[in-house]
Subunit: 386 residues, 2 copies
């Protein structure tokens, strides 16, 4: 381990079955290594337009303001929240895991009046509770929630939540970091106003980009703001002059050219397979995992109707030592799974079957490795790693 | 051009001699295409520590808070400005091009009381004017300036500006997007408090990352803020728990894993060549270009002492049509150069000799191509492209 920084870095080959990043197809990595071109090159402008089209398809939207923020999903959250809120605006945010909690923090820093609504970690957002809260609090402008909570493996009913928000005249902000391309998203049908996702989950692209989309009501709202968006970099009225797709684009920032090559290729692969086929593949991988886990005597944290196929929270049996098992899985089997966070630390493992990870051979390899470790056939490695 | 988005994107091979991105070495592209690993993988934590060490070397600093923001240089500007300013704080910002102007906008959105100080585009920031302004305005907390103005090709005397700011008790924020590794930077020696750069200029890495560094006074200032940093994503007190280099790191965002492979390799190449040798190579390429331009009857915009070797602003002769020539250079010679911005649009070309671009064979190729185009030997292509 005593290497010099002047040596090239040679990453190990891991099977990424944690909460992200997910496995990246060789074709996507090859695309990423294409020769860098200028971000104002006509070829690149064409690429950006195609990325936009394919993101619209993935989100099931015709929203013009659909693009990839030049940073990870967390920056996409900043982008959605900071474009919409103004100081003092009331925003109701459902908290049933790490990311709803984070959205409260982001909105609060931006000067919003945050009304948090708590649900037990591992359970979904209850639409009825949203309705009740919107009746109890007047003048709530926005409802924020997480479609697929990466920290717990729970999905919430986005359509129901969006319908209730609309009934009360509030705009919805949805975290779709883990849901996009893993469970159905119908942005226009549901009437979601602003959404952000990440490249490194079910799109199976390296981390670093955050696909976002803003609906017509959200765009209108941003245009009518009384104050400027706090971040110049994230202001969609500026960014869209750059992502607009025509040739008279205004220079804004320098797009991450090679990262967008990768996103283009991963979206191309998604739509070549077909969105429905991809969703079915995620579901099948989940059922295969569930079957194997049951045979190993392991249980999922989340009740059946709310389970995310792409993020499985597995209860850790009392007889198993969490960290040494995950270390052995990583070091001796080259498989990454995720730890629990917050109140679930030490209590669950998070197994992501996202994008390229949702394939039967990967599920089998994980199950076999888990079985070996849990039956104590790998005790030597376990003790070495611990 | 009537392609389907379902086709793979095959980028053309351009010689990038514009204002960035710069040419990327094959080794860096290969590193970027390494297998993606988890951002909490022990191997990756080691990589981040090495990136930090090599960035400290490039900036000539021992600053602990030195890392790469997970977004382009414009986000690095947001990071430096938004971490330091609080609503109502006075910041003096020198404007002698696009990026000083942008810093005013960023600081103003963040709630600062911005005092802009204007200099003619194409001329440097006058340290005496900074001194005078700091005498005239009381309680100025920060001085912001651009070390190497990418929009004009001008370098300003960072050491002198920082010394004056210190004399008046103000912290300095420096834009080093184009200067890092192209002209000398001595962060600690000069006493610069916060700096941001970009991966896609003299580091010759694909765009998408912004190396930043915060000195001890800046860190102390951030710790003693009365208000929270407006952006959760950019708050260095949060980010450093992630980039800290130890194994007990706190999850913050998902680092752009493959982009950091690329930055590691580009920094490794820089330090293998040696920073001094790299600076000398930039200088030599500039002198070669200048010699060839003189023979073509072309002149630089900037006076000799203030010229950036890595960004050459060339006055466009009245007899030449700007856009058609640049189009022909791109389409028929596969060479990208940059247009003028703002008041310099149509008046200058911007020729970047950054990182891998600063090599004699590239300068020769550009000069030969320019000569062919300017002598009208390529009129057919010129008319086709226009």
């Amino acid at each position: 381990m005593n290497r010099s920084y002047l040596e090239s870095f040679l990453p190990p080959t891991r099977l990424l079955l944690g909460p992200g990043p997910s496995p990246v197809a060789p074709e996507v990595l090859t695309a990423m290594a294409g020769p860098t071109i200028g971000h104002l090159d006509p070829s690149f402008i064409g690429l950006m337009a195609e990325v936009k089209t394919m993101l619209q398809m993935a989100f099931a939207t015709t929203n013009e303001v659909t693009f990839a923020v030049a940073g990870p999903g967390s920056l996409g959250m900043d982008a959605c929240v900071l474009n919409l809120i103004e100081p003092g605006d009331k925003i109701l945010i459902a908290r049933n895991g790490v990311f709803g909690t984070r959205m409260c923090e982001v909105a609060s820093r931006g000067g919003a009046h945050v009304i948090p609504l708590d649900f037990t970690w591992g359970t979904p957002v209850d639409p009825q509770a949203i309705d009740d809260a919107l009746k109890a609090h007047k003048d709530v402008k926005f409802v924020g929630f997480v479609h697929a909570e990466t920290s717990t493996g729970v999905q919430s009913d986005a359509a129901a939540i969006a319908a209730i928000a609309q009934k009360h005249g509030a705009l919805t902000i949805m975290d779709a970091v883990t849901s996009l391309a893993g469970i159905p998203i119908k942005l226009d049908e549901w009437g979601i106003d602003a959404v952000y996702s990440g490249s490194q989950k079910c799109l199976s692209c390296p981390p670093g980009l955050s696909p976002v989309s803003f609906g017509p009501r959200a765009v209108e709202h941003v245009k009518n703001r009384k104050t400027r968006v706090l971040s110049w970099f994230l202001d969609i009225t500026q960014v869209m002059a750059y992502w607009g797709g025509d040739k008279a684009r205004a220079y804004h920032h320098t797009a991450p050219v090679n990262s967008l090559y990768a996103l283009h290729e991963s979206l191309r692969r998604l739509h070549t397979e077909g969105l429905e086929a991809s969703l079915a593949r995620h579901k099948a991988a989940h059922l295969q995992l569930l079957d194997g886990l049951t045979k190993l005597g392991l249980e999922l944290l989340v009740e059946e109707p709310y389970r995310l196929p792409q993020l499985n929270a597995i209860k850790i049996p009392a007889t198993i030592n969490d960290a040494p098992l995950r270390s052995a899985l990583l070091n001796d089997f080259n498989i990454e799974i995720g730890a629990g966070l917050g109140p679930l630390a030490g209590k669950i493992w998070r197994v992501g079957l996202m994008g390229e990870g949702a394939r039967p051979e990967h599920v089998s390899r994980l199950l076999q490795s888990l079985e070996t470790l849990m039956r104590g056939q790998w005790t030597e490695a376990l003790s070495l790693a611990s």
